[in-house]
């Protein structure tokens, strides 16, 4: 590993903004994106020309969504880069934005995600690689198989796994930017089977939306006269991809474990110290798998713990207080930026009725097709 430049030059989140995640509409992506960016500028209390570079994450919009959108804030000539990294596109925009600031090349940077669920093109499907699945194993079945394996291994029950969705839907009901804003009963969660133990409400909705975060150096926070307490610091940013693990290795959990271990080393924190965790819970089982892979709890412990409320808001760590992908939604490009926005809100103490009391340390975690994994650690502003 090279030098940790986030330790050399501090990178802070100074502004957050969102367009609500929602089912597909005719609204142009430009409107979605500008809504989020304008909100983030207002939140930071800075003017658009202050922003020196923009990283625009999207997976489905096609080429060049950045300038046609951002020029409508005034075409300042700033650096604009398109970022595509599947479900982790927004997280990767944050990672590149943080690098841009930490390197000293820019002082104030926009990282955003905007997407619309249309025109899916997935490169691995046209990579010239054969398999024996004949199109029968889509993501929800991939994870349903992992759930079956996991439940058999640890005796975790279908109801314990469903508790993840019950919790995250309840959190989403308190988030005005969530696609699903409805408290659900266990009966509703367990209705409408999709694949294996998964039901409709244990699978994330993929719609549209936008999320924006503005990053700045410590010098810029001071120069712009911002309140440092509202500017959490990004203390780790790690991106990894799936390695050639030995046969039988649980790929998804291993990739997350490795990426998080590097992030925790970079930030100098232990997995049990987090107050707030936004996890890639596209399917309910993932929250259990990844909390254990991260080391937040031991193998096989996550099911009983989620049942006991340990990961509720007010529990030992609030997991997916935004509602997570399950309830806030997963519009691809925005999702990772939305996680950083939620953790920032929590670390500022501005999360209202979904505030985790005393939140000081936060984690964001996304995985994407490939597979890739992107993790950030955020520390409350001082």
């Amino acid at each position: 590993m090279g030098r940790n430049i986030l330790a050399d030059r501090a990178v802070h989140v100074i502004g957050i903004g969102l367009h609500r995640y929602q089912s597909a509409t005719d609204t142009p992506f430009v409107h979605l994106g500008l809504t989020a960016v304008r909100a983030a500028l207002d939140d930071a209390g800075i003017a658009w020309p202050t922003v020196e570079a923009a990283f625009v994450g999207s997976a489905l919009l096609g080429m060049a969504p950045g300038r046609v959108m951002l020029s409508r804030l005034g075409a300042t000539g700033l650096a604009i880069q398109q970022v595509e990294n599947a479900s982790a596109s927004g997280s990767t925009a944050v990672a590149l934005g943080a690098l841009e600031v930490a390197s000293g090349r820019s002082d104030v940077v926009l990282a955003m995600g905007v997407d619309k669920a249309e025109g899916w093109r997935v490169a691995p499907n046209s990579a010239g690689l054969a398999n024996y699945e004949g199109g029968t194993v889509v993501p929800f079945t991939h994870f349903a198989l992992l759930a079956d394996d996991y439940m058999g291994r640890y005796g975790t029950t279908v109801e314990q796994m469903a508790r993840v969705a019950l919790k995250n839907h309840a959190n989403g009901a308190r988030n005005p930017f969530a696609q699903r804003q409805k408290v659900r009963t266990m009966e509703e969660i367990l209705a409408d089977p999709i694949s294996g133990s998964f039901t409709r409400l244990q699978c994330c909705p993929v719609g549209e939306g936008a999320a924006a975060v503005i990053l700045a150096s410590g010098e810029a926070v001071a120069r712009l006269g911002l309140d440092p307490k509202r500017c959490p610091r990004i203390t780790a940013s790690v991106t990894r991809s799936e390695a050639a693990y030995p046969p039988g290795t649980p790929i998804d959990a291993t990739l997350t474990a490795e990426t998080c271990r590097l992030a925790f080393e970079q930030a100098g924190v232990a997995p049990t110290e987090f107050d707030v965790i936004e996890v890639h819970d596209a399917f309910s089982i993932e929250e259990l798998l990844y909390l254990e892979a991260m080391g937040v709890c031991g193998a096989g412990e996550a099911g009983p713990l989620v049942e006991a409320g340990a990961f509720d808001i007010g529990g030992r760590a609030a997991v997916s207080p935004s509602g997570g992908l399950l309830a806030m939604g997963h519009p691809l490009g925005p999702t990772g930026c939305g996680q950083v926005a939620e953790v920032t809100r929590q670390l500022r103490g501005e999360a209202g009725d979904r505030q985790q009391p005393g939140a000081r340390l936060g984690l964001t975690h996304m995985v994407g097709i490939g597979a890739v994994c992107v993790v950030h650690v955020l520390q409350a502003g001082a």
């Binding site: 054969a130 024996y132 004949g134 029968t136 198989l145 079956d148 394996d149 089977p193 694949s195 046969p247």
Partner: protein
């Protein structure tokens, strides 16, 4: 019981099925150096999932996807349970055959 054409990397031993066309994921050895081999399509069930929603008419729902750890090593393989069978238990023995590009599993024997 069917056999599956596969490749084995002489440098690192990694197995791939279907055969790897580009280069070894284990060590990067070019595809031209990989050896052809065959794996027996038999092993034990790691997990199953009955699929209730599918975006295409084929296979008709519900169908069951079975993930199998092969006796001969290599990657765990996912395929469809032969129609009309009850889902096998975890650890149960199955054997498979490729039909129209799709791996179909059934109970051994």
């Amino acid at each position: 019981m069917g056999s599956l054409s596969a490749s084995r990397c002489p440098a690192c031993g990694r197995l791939a099925t279907p055969p790897e066309p580009y280069g070894c994921e284990g060590c990067g050895a070019p595809a031209g150096t990989l050896e052809s081999t065959e794996l027996v399509a038999a092993g034990s069930v790691r997990a199953t999932a009955m699929v209730h929603r599918h975006h295409k008419p084929d296979p008709a729902t519900p169908f069951t996807v079975v993930e199998v750890v092969l006796d001969g090593g290599g990657p765990a393989l996912k395929g469809v349970l032969a129609p009309g069978l009850d889902p096998p238990a975890i650890g149960e023995r199955v054997s498979g055959a490729v039909l129209d590009g799709r791996l179909i599993w059934e109970r051994e024997g």
